[in-house]
């Protein structure tokens, strides 16, 4: 069974689109006239950071965490509180915040990752409710429902302007994007997808499944924390609403619309979810229904989201559809479930 002809391996995806996204991001403030647009752009990047974490965890590794908004909130609270209460300089507060969210994710993840699908979803949701409940109740520490102020970023004694803050957020988002892309294009991303698709087989190939899940959970927690810090420096406030249901709904909407398990889904989705309410204001009371219908349409008719439309074209063009192959693939899938 020797095959003499030599066939090239298909080419691996390049970094070019990542560079394009970052370059677009860097040019954006030059194109936008009002500070409001810059603010929206910042929010897009912040949600993109948050959702890239969720994408790695659920889209690529198959482990859901509905508790991500809690880490988002803790990131913002931590960054603010370390500065105001302990007098940390911003960089140290940033590092400290990341350490806190990493440690918390580890503590939560160690026991909870034994849980599967809906149990994991509900348990992590419980974590979000705990965090939110405490943030609302422990008024002396968290400021209760009105939250706490986050000190504005300064450079050489001057408070940073909005455009400068935008670039700080952009740097964070770019680093996140690079990490996200590195992970999914490397052997680590392959292993993550293997765990998502079939844990038993992944284990048989020597992948330490639990350890991988835990790592990605920590990565997603840390990214949520980074997003929280970015939110803190843009809004200069943090309150319990950062870990309420509507944030969770936004995260889920972003990954569904952008495309679960795609390279750029979180960014594309964030663009939609941040801008959509601004357009929907003109629909008045119909807003909520339209929003819900939007999500449904994407779920039903675009299973890989907007980003998937482009990223998956490669697959569909090559796809050879023989009825027999389809039937067998179906059978295989069914027995794998």
């Amino acid at each position: 069974m020797a095959h003499s002809r030599h066939i090239e391996a298909p080419r691996a995806p390049t970094l070019l689109p990542v560079a394009v996204f970052i370059a677009l991001g860097a040019l954006l403030p030059l194109l936008l006239s009002s500070g409001f647009h810059v603010r929206l752009a910042m929010l897009i990047w912040i949600y993109a950071i948050l959702c890239m974490g969720f994408n790695l965890l659920y889209g690529f590794t198959g482990q859901i965490s509905l508790g991500l908004p809690a880490f988002y909130a803790i990131g913002a609270y931590g960054f603010g509180m370390l500065q105001t209460m302990l007098g940390f300089p911003p960089l140290l507060a940033f590092a400290g915040t990341l350490a806190i969210v990493a440690l918390l994710s580890l503590l939560i993840g160690l026991p909870l990752l034994r849980l599967r699908t809906h149990y994991l979803a509900m348990a992590t949701l419980a974590f979000m409710l705990i965090q939110n409940g405490v943030a609302n109740r422990w008024i002396g520490f968290t400021g209760g429902q009105s939250g706490i102020a986050v000190p504005p970023l300064e450079w050489a004694g001057e408070t940073l302007g909005r455009t400068e803050i935008y670039y700080v957020v952009l740097v964070m988002a770019s680093l996140t994007l690079l990490l996200h892309d590195f992970l999914i294009r490397s052997h680590i991303g392959r292993a993550m997808q293997a765990i998502r698709d079939d844990e038993t087989a992944a284990q048989a190939l020597g992948i330490r499944v639990t350890r991988y899940k835990l790592r990605i959970l920590v990565v997603s927690g840390v990214l949520a924390g980074v997003a929280g810090v970015c939110f803190g420096i843009t809004s200069l406030r943090v309150d319990p609403s950062l870990s309420e249901f509507h944030v969770l709904v936004s995260v889920l909407t972003i990954v569904v619309m952008g495309g679960l398990g795609t390279r750029f889904g979180p960014i594309v989705g964030s663009v939609i979810v941040v801008l959509l309410p601004q357009f929907l204001t003109s629909f008045g009371a119909f807003e909520t229904v339209i929003y819900g219908v939007f999500i449904l349409v994407f779920l039903l008719f675009m299973p890989h989201g907007l980003s998937g439309l482009f990223e998956r074209r490669r697959w569909s063009l090559r796809r050879r559809s023989s009825p027999q192959a389809d039937a067998q693939a179906r059978e295989m899938r069914r027995s794998a479930e």
């Binding site: 026991p111 699908t117 809906h118 509900m122 409710l129 779920l299 039903l300």
Partner: protein, 294 residues
């Protein structure tokens, strides 16, 4: 002392019955379809809001209103099943993706209810009397007590359907293995449709009965469902009875925590407790049944 304890237990039973009802409806759907229905609480909201419509606006007698509430719930449930669940199952979406679909469904239902009823809280006229009833030294009222009756009634009905009818057998078979069920000539879509309808009716009736106590508000759905979720995973999602027991457990815990501990931190404390239970028993307190099948 004894009086306090009895009061706490009665309150636990009442609140637990509400959580248990939601958990029961969630679990009936889950056991046939392996999907958590995020829109379940919206049926409670629909029950309460449409009760206002039928009882106040249209001034129908309550038995007619009850039927009308059931009809509304069933129609919306069919929409959920045909519009979201089936298409997603047919394109082989993951259970969690279907869950996200039901969340979108919840947003649509909530948004539509907002269009119809607006944001104001509504007054739901009580079907039964709110006048005090004495049970020994305990005092309650008929509307509250009816929730306990409703809960155990639905528990019994669910048991009867699942274990005493041929149809129930096929429901259980679908839950165990849809492929085998198909071989037995059972169309699992039918079964899942039934569970959606049955759960929706259950929640709708619950909404009509809870409304006079909790008030009706278009955004009440998610508040109610959260405790139901927690009850279901505490008891064990896979079995309706385990989930219902989880509801009672949360109700009792809450009452005891409020009675003897801190009422301010009762909610977060109970969620912490649930997490700890899950760490020891990943499929819930009574979830052996599901754990073994994996």
């Amino acid at each position: 002392m004894l009086m306090t304890l009895s009061y706490l237990l009665l309150a636990g039973l009442t609140n637990g019955s509400v959580y248990g009802l939601i958990a029961l409806s969630l679990s009936v759907i889950y056991s046939a379809s392996r999907v958590i229905n995020f829109a379940q609480g919206e049926f409670v909201m629909l029950g309460a809001m449409s009760a206002v419509l039928f009882l106040v606006t249209l001034a129908l007698p309550w038995p007619v209103a009850l039927v009308a509430v059931i009809v509304v719930s069933v129609v919306v449930a069919l929409g959920l099943d045909h519009g979201i669940y089936r298409p997603l199952v047919r394109r082989k979406a993951e259970p969690l993706t279907i869950m996200i679909g039901t969340l979108a469904g919840a947003i649509v239902i909530y948004g539509s209810a907002f269009l119809i009823w607006g944001p104001e809280p509504r007054f739901v006229p009580p079907v039964l009397s709110l006048a005090p009833i004495r049970l020994g030294f305990l005092i309650s009222n008929a509307q509250q007590l009816s929730l306990i009756v409703l809960f155990f009634g639905f528990l019994a009905l669910t048991w009867f359907i699942l274990y005493r009818t041929r149809f129930g057998l096929s429901v259980r078979a679908t839950g165990v293995d849809p492929k085998v069920a198909l071989l037995m000539g059972i169309r699992s879509e039918r079964i899942v449709q039934f569970t959606f309808i049955y759960s929706a009716a259950m929640s709708g009736i619950a909404g009509m009965m809870i409304g006079p106590l909790l008030g009706a508000h278009v955004s009440m759905g998610i508040l109610i469902t959260v405790k139901g979720f927690m009850a279901a995973i505490l008891g064990g999602l896979g079995s309706p009875f385990a989930a219902a027991a989880g509801g009672l457990a949360i109700g009792m815990l809450e009452a005891l925590m409020a009675g003897y501990g801190t009422s301010l931190y009762a909610e977060p404390a109970i969620f912490v407790l649930i997490l700890m239970v899950l760490i020891v028993r990943p499929y819930g307190l009574l979830g052996d049944y599901e754990a073994e099948r994996r």
